[in-house]
Symmetry: D2
């Protein structure tokens, strides 16, 4: 038990169910003195809100958050920061008929087995709405990184067979799919429209880049930078694969092609290529940290499905309600949030690596 | 700092450098009463030893371990179990000329940046030899799982472009590559021979299945079963991607094809397919847990490479010594070890999920 | 950083400042299936509320709590339980003149040094009001213990020189001091009245007994039952000493007098005495667990004090506002709460001590 | 389970049993670059060795340690440091008749209950010999503190009724009891001689001072500096009480007498008194950190005792072997070790308290 806490020094706890009283998080270990820019915060969390375009769920959830603790006079105090968001649009009625049914691809069955019963309304704790707490915590982490000149930028790399070809990062926020290739994005939107009509859904993938990171982050041998990223990204519902740098491609590579040669650039040690995705031995090497996540298709589909119920009867299932035909676009900001949380935690954890730096710190 | 400890309740710390005095691990949290079968232990760790066939390194490391603590009269006592293996074949001389050189694909540069200097002999702490501690701890975990009827079985799924086609698990241990397809294994061996002559290396992938797991393991939302697996597997040096179930394939799937339908089998709720790899919402669902890991090609190759040294000079590098042309076969047992450690930890963590079960336990 | 989380498996995070928006806690790791008895909950937290008698602060804080998550249909679901209490009676005006003054015996100076600034209103995070989150979490822990037949009972053992002589536990809740000796309690009340007039305060001590605990709880060598208790109890503001069993008295004892002889009582192994307070080697031995805590006098006193301000000027300080002349009576329930949280955590942690019991659990 | 690991960033795991193959520790999170002075190390651990004077056990344990990992070219590398000490003088024969007997005041019974059986030789894991691992780790911590100008100094404050009156710290190391008062030390030695003849033992207390600590250490609200100290010190076998500053005395104090007034000393904010023992709100305030520990009398006494055996029979017990008539003098260095470990961990944990300092660190 106790799996709702992430991080060692920048420790994030999320709480709340989809259709309970509310959703939120507590951040313990945020340094004092961070100015909270409410506008940045609101824009960041707006990116995961449904109801923004026709490719995502038609639900109109309110994400009006409240900062309950840890901020005084607009600045963090070093004490736990608590965010709370009331659940307003919690229309549970469309779920009541799911009380005893096990939706394929969902956690209904496993929660029932593990806990003996479950809050069946809207997926309860396993709902995508849980990620709101992550995004709020991630927004704080991202503000810290901003102050340090570090950027975390994720985007949709593919939707089904539609894959970004002509990368134009400036287009990302103009695409309803956060897909930075105008032509491909438009094709993907059409494809999703078709899927919606069919009552089906599709998967996709997200790439995330962390830029301007200092070299030296990551704690071998178990808490390597990429291991922590992997755990955090895989913890986002629907993520089924994590790839660092070239990822699965390395299995077909030769050493002579996969090794990134070091060279000197303006007296700085750099790498000519970056197959490794910015880490060596689990420690950041100063190049761009790059990873990708594969997202499964939304399991809630309108098409009739075979399943069983709690009483052990085989039944036909038709899922009503407003569901995203593709999770990917709304997950982009969640990936950025989790990557930011990991990065901040690893920045803090690295501070006692060299004795000379510890001594200097306290001088 | 402090990244050499894995697990919450079954807590494993590995220690030691490739060419220091020795290598080992401490397991804190192993239950009392496990009979230690020395023969099983020896066989398990023998699987990662080099010098066993022509496809792996010619080094003849001794892996004679000693149990220093935690076992009395052949049984675990519940106190920390310490394994220690002396480094015998520690011929550091072939490394002394690497003291100030940064090998591409290795952690030389990043250790130097992070810690200010490094034990350069044989990769020091970032050496593959560190995994010996993991395999010893994993052997204990596997013995616990054996007692519970749970099996953990990994195998080489691909080497470069050679991929298992006609799966025959019984052949795994007969293949020098632990590749359970006689024909493909033989082809891959020939390919590796060629690579050796060329002084190059290649990557591959490993699949691992955990069978007979109870449903209900995994702690949402951050410590899901697959998240913990992902972190543990990615922590094995050279692993660059982790895939749960169908993994990256899900990005191209539709919900109607990716959802695993529930049905009743002999009054038990099962799934007709297992795209998800045995977890739903991060909790095991009682079906086979299946994941794969992509391994990069050995970075130590004989071919001349461009790199830089510590003093910031560009140099040519020729790596001598005995190196594996492919890491995959020796990593198979490491994957099994880490998967076993995770599984035992999650089994223990799940025990307080239901109040009724806690009350029964103490009755 | 990150010090607001306690526990391994039953993990409690408290949040909130005295005069911020509210106070609360998140409990991660509470088993599913606990029926929440709101009446029990309300009664328990009422015990720490000020304004109940003339011996405690005249403030009339509302402690109306809300359960934000983790409970469905009146039962815990196994997901994080969040309690939230709005700060109503947050009259900050009497504190505004304390903004830059360092009150002796308070954490004003140290928070400023550590974090650079502080929420000065009512002590901010270091306020006694923070304990409300602990009491709410402790109430849940206590309900779990109730189900297992384990009781946690604390009482005021002394106030200044007034010490319980004729122990009558049934009187505890009738004493405004939670002091189970009618005559001594009445004398102590008179003494406190006098102190109030003088504008001074006094310390005291609390004893806590945990009854009916199974033997075997506690994880040697660092997470012994008494070590965890000690940390948790010392974390309550104003506690300056922790004593297990006979506590400081042991320093004057001889082995022959301090050893507790084992004997057989109805075929059960028991101890004739209990100097050790129910633990041996940090593991519960089945006898009554008994410890005490020494509480310092309330640092907020009306009497004029010398101090300095933030600008480094020496000043005279007169503290206004409504303050408890003695913290002890309100701390009794906080001690019970923390002891309950520790006990539940140790009960869960002990469940994987014996392999045979783990195997039985999953059979 | 898993209670043999202490610390968050400076993480110490001890392992080993009294009469097993050996004893040791792993330190994970020691910064790179610490020069290991072997002479300092040997002197430090020599202080806990038995056989040094007539007031301690006549056993002549060898404490020849080996550094197995984490040190290269005389400096720490940032990777886990492992110490190993072989058990030489492991004469188990005098213990074999204790196999099924439960010694009063020892953990024999509780280990048997918790784990089902135990390594009965010399107390196994609950032996005082386990502290050797702590002292080795503490020596490393102390070397770090030395580099930062922080001292940790403990001494025997009392043995039975003999209490230091005329404190002369320079005498500490001349007293076989580490008791810095020549006259009292001599009286106590005579008293102990008498006890030895009688076959009895006695308790005592230890005071420890940490000097020159920066203000700001300690993580409210659960991981306060004094809470962490309390847990660590209580974890030393035989410690039954922990007192911060004035400790139990505060229960009788008034606020006007217990509050430490701030004043300006050479433009620095200091306190005129230090009743609090150097912490306020759990955070160090820049004054001397001072605490004390009460140690119970050695439970192993020659006098005949009543007890029971494993089979549930009442028996008479006569303990043979060489036992310390008082544990205190050998525990002094263990207290210093644990206090040093806590201090280093809290120094590291504090480094991310202020955002401005984190930004400066990475600039």
């Amino acid at each position: 038990m106790s799996g709702s806490v992430y991080g060692e020094l920048f420790k994030v706890t999320t709480f709340g169910e989809s259709h309970g009283k509310g959703i939120g998080c507590v951040i313990d270990g945020c340094p004092a003195g961070l100015l909270i820019d409410m506008d940045t915060l609101r824009k960041f969390i707006a990116r995961r809100r449904p109801g923004q375009s026709k490719v995502v769920s038609g639900r109109n959830e309110s994400d009006d958050f409240e900062i309950v603790s840890g901020v005084f006079c607009g600045k963090t105090t070093g004490t736990p920061i608590t965010f709370f968001v009331k659940n307003n649009d919690a229309d549970s009625s469309s779920y009541s008929d799911l009380e005893d049914k096990y939706r394929p691809g969902h956690a209904d069955f496993t929660y029932d087995v593990k806990y003996g019963f479950r809050d069946y309304r809207g997926g309860g704790r396993s709902s995508g709405r849980e990620t709101l707490g992550r995004v709020l915590a991630g927004a704080i982490a991202k503000m810290i990184l901003d102050q340090m000149g570090i950027s975390v930028f994720a985007y949709t790399e593919s939707i089904g067979d539609y894959k970004v070809l002509d990368l134009d990062l400036s287009f990302r926020d103009k695409s309803p799919l956060y897909m930075p290739d105008r032509a491909v994005s438009e094709e993907a939107v059409s494809f999703i429209d078709e899927l919606k009509r069919e009552g089906d859904s599709v998967g996709g993938s997200i790439r995330c880049n962390i830029d301007n990171l200092p070299a030296g982050l990551g704690e071998p041998v178990f808490d390597k930078f990429d291991c922590e990223l992997s755990k955090a990204i895989m913890s986002i519902g629907a993520v089924k694969a994590f790839e660092m740098g070239d990822g699965t491609l390395v299995s077909k590579m030769r050493g002579s092609g996969n090794n990134d040669a070091f060279f000197l650039n303006d007296n700085k040690i750099e790498k000519r290529t970056n197959h490794s995705g910015g880490v060596l031995g689990g420690i950041t090497d100063g190049s761009l940290v790059s990873f990708s996540a594969s997202i499964k298709p939304t399991p809630s589909i309108r098409l009739k499905q075979k399943t069983v119920n709690r009483d052990g009867q085989e039944i036909d299932l038709e899922i009503k309600g407003r569901h995203d035909p593709v999770i990917v676009p709304r997950a982009v900001v969640v990936v950025e949030a989790m990557a930011s949380i990991v990065t901040v935690d690893m920045l803090f954890r690295n501070m006692s690596s060299k004795l000379s730096e510890v001594i200097d710190f306290y001088r």
